[in-house]
Symmetry: C2
Subunit: 492 residues, 2 copies
């Protein structure tokens, strides 16, 4: 199999696009800005979903499903939210096509079938969900209301990239309602923590937890918590957000409850989401010039067995062993594929599974049969070793854990060495252009400075880290006083 | 808890609508024809999804995801399919809203943001998927292609009912491509069988397998296989369909492959789907005037434990036992809820869990503690028994199986006694109006007769059963010769 993958050093962006397509994760569709998630890519997404879903349920949330469409008047209700999403939303105006009488076989929009009120395809579901919560919440006994939805959403992005920015994407969106401000903030923080745990432990991607500046907040939120990851090209990627909505949506949709004292009050809200964007983060954190590198937790195939043989008899003998090992590994809940295709040579298979990021490749040849060994190749380190066949199952279980940890450590070291303290704007620009990564810099707290820096350098404030150290300093741009560093970066 | 559920005999349709809402399955939303699936209803749907997904994977299918939107020109490509769905599709014409300058806080469609080509919100995904398959299939080695998608679809129905007919619904749609006609037909039949197994064994609903008449076929199919169920009011409900598409979509989208001899040929297709409509079938097959009756396989809560107590001490003692039983049942993979709310009386709790269809209720009171017993109440039969606490866990595991079987048997007996052979049109009309159910009647095979009967009686041909017996006869309407009976019914 010829990979012809562009090298990361040559053109990181091209490498990414090619890899996503060649490794069968996704491809562009015939619909502007919309992607097709291919079976191999979708299998990874399913693993993410399963784990996140488990974590949401463990923290007391239930799934539900709300309509795809939001009537325009409902969409308008929370003004900031509407303003934030109006610029890029798909609008349904008609409910029928009819035959074009001037061209056989063609259809046109039926002008008789115009909707009285336009419908917005949900860019996010706060409006439709809060309009529903109004009927679900009467008293403090109905709270907290802890609901999650797995859904597709649409934002009409002008420049799209597979997984990272697409007009339609898949996500989950949690929407909760609480009796007090404190409870809602605790929920917002808890879900940020759930995301951080998931991304770090399951995806092996280290993240920085923080809050967004007012400029970068979710439209309609009082506070946006986020987790920020760093890609191999030194650009940041927002991997998940959790919003404290205050009483904004409760007020917009008139969602009140009777508290324990019988007094009416607006409820407090949160919303939080992660999307198929995480697939992009996964690719850009771990993969290399040979293809995908998948953490064992997310790999649809964790071990691939490739037979090395010259004759039918050799293949038969190897197959017997391979089937035994496969069965034993499956009992240990490893997912294994025995690649016994006779139409492809081992070299082709090696390259293919390398491209697809299978964590461990096991090769078995006639010599291995004789000596009771197998050859294991690690995808992440590209190292090989010959091990005893006896006990290889337990060894592989451990190896999965080792690889998972090792990927995290590698990404962590990279990230750690790419947080640079900068104390003046020249340094800021130089480091940004040469090394990239996060720049820890003092900022005067004004949106004007934030925007000016963005204009001049394309760097934005990724977050005010939760573990920010109090430190007197001067804004890297304006020189005005500041009490702690924030993290700037160019971002996806 | 006051249920005030309309009786089935009084008004079956009203009973259904009330039950769906009161049992917290779903409700109408603020969006015309679209429903909100509430957490309890969604939990049932998740169980259906998990089992179906397992069955699809076991038969070699993978999941993927294709775009929500279909450009108009792509939608038009398969003419019959386009014609079938054009009348009821949501059309996106614009991609932006802007501030209404005449009214503060209001938005209007931005005329500057008109799409060059309108987008249809998928009513089904053959068009978008076959336009993709064109690039995925070159040779017989790429076949069969066995893909499933879990998605939302939109059909602009004018008269909607919760779960049974909604503008947006959730479903899965399988789309497969094959090298030969025989293989594609075998796949179509296999998936009909998978659906039948699922609906009978998992949902405890007996079905009749058959094929649709040309009139009732899926738009663009050569043959539509279906499974038909019978509801308690004597109306039929199509529970799943599996379509043999011939080469129609391959031709429309130019999907060719090189066969083993190197010759180019169009591929053969199938598609098959079940939807949230199954939730309606579930409710209407098993439930009664007291509320939902859920088969144990689909019940989000299989056993609910209700403590009967007068003092705090009694509650504490009962709780200890209840927690022990809960833990033991969970180990056996039963899902249990201990309803220890102190805000509600046992009577209220009994009625609530009855309404929600929990298969078994366990009550524990002070006397039970003394005597080492518990009281079990079966939801399906409304019978109670006192059993020894020791060994109750194993007893419950068996009881779940008993209830599952018993629900199926009950539904089967009802269905079986509601298939009536009729041999003239008067009989046809009388039985249809008095008894309902399936009418096994001779039909002359013409669409004209089929339509005339529908016009006169509202009954349609549900299917030509696969186990149809060859039998000379005369069409119940026209008197023309026929070689076997088909099944008529009024249907949802």
């Amino acid at each position: 199999m010829s990979k012809n993958l562009t090298k990361r050093e040559e053109d990181y962006s091209k490498w990414y696009n090619e890899l996503v397509v060649k490794a069968d994760l996704a491809e562009n569709s015939g619909v502007r800005g919309c992607m097709v998630i291919k079976p191999y890519g979708y299998a990874i997404w399913e693993k993410m979903q399963a784990e996140l879903d488990r974590m949401f349920k463990e923290t007391g949330h239930s799934n539900a499903y709300f309509p795809l469409f939001v009537p325009k008047s409902m969409f308008e209700a929370e003004e900031k939210n509407a303003e934030g999403f109006a610029k890029e939303c798909a609008v349904v105006t008609h409910y029928r096509l009819k035959a074009d009488e001037t061209q056989k076989g063609k259809l046109i929009v039926d002008p008789q079938a115009k909707l009285e009120e336009e419908l917005v395809v949900r860019p996010t579901s706060e409006a439709i969900i809060w309009s529903t919560y109004k009927n679900w919440i009467q008293s403090y006994r109905d709270l907290p209301l802890l609901i999650n939805q797995w859904a597709n959403v649409v934002r009409w992005e002008m420049r799209t990239r597979l997984f990272l920015r697409t007009a339609e994407f898949l996500w989950q969106e949690g929407h909760t309602a609480h009796a007090t401000r404190e409870e809602a903030i605790a929920e917002t923080e808890q879900m940020m923590q759930v995301y951080a745990d998931f991304v770090e432990n399951f995806m092996a991607i280290p993240v920085i937890k923080g809050v967004k500046t007012p400029n970068e907040r979710f439209a309609g939120a009082e506070e946006t918590y986020c987790i920020e990851a760093l890609m191999q090209d030194g650009k940041a990627l927002q991997a998940g957000t959790s919003h404290f909505l205050g009483q904004n949506f409760a007020q917009a949709f008139d969602v009140k409850f009777a508290n324990k004292e019988g007094k009416q009050d607006y409820v407090w809200g949160t919303s939080w989401g992660v999307s198929t964007r995480l697939m992009g983060a996964l690719v850009m954190t771990h993969s290399d010039d040979n293809g995908l590198v998948l953490p064992p937790n997310l790999a649809p195939i964790q071990v691939v067995i490739v037979p090395i043989y010259k004759s039918e008899e050799e293949l038969a003998a190897i197959s017997t062993v391979a089937h035994e090992i496969t069965a034993a590994l499956r009992k240990l809940r490893l997912s294994v594929k025995f690649d016994d295709r006779t139409t492809q040579k081992p070299g082709f298979k090696f390259a293919e599974w390398e491209l697809k990021g299978v964590p461990v490749r096991m090769a078995i040849g006639p010599k291995d049969l004789e000596q009771g060994t197998v050859e294991l190749a690690r995808r992440d380190t590209l190292t090989k070793e010959v091990v005893r066949r006896e006990g290889v199952e337990a060894y592989l279980v451990d190896l999965m854990e080792t690889i998972q940890q090792s990927l995290y450590q590698k990404a962590f070291s990279y990230r750690d060495s790419h947080i640079t303290q900068v104390d003046n704007f020249d340094e800021f620009k130089t480091i940004l252009e040469t090394k990239g990564g996060f720049l820890a810099a003092h900022w005067d707290g004004t949106p004007e400075t934030e925007e000016k820096i963005k204009e001049l350098t394309k760097a934005t404030i990724r977050c005010i880290p939760l573990d920010q150290v109090k430190e007197e300093g001067k804004c890297v741009f304006s020189g005005a006083p500041s009490t702690g560093r924030v993290l700037f970066a160019k971002a996806y």
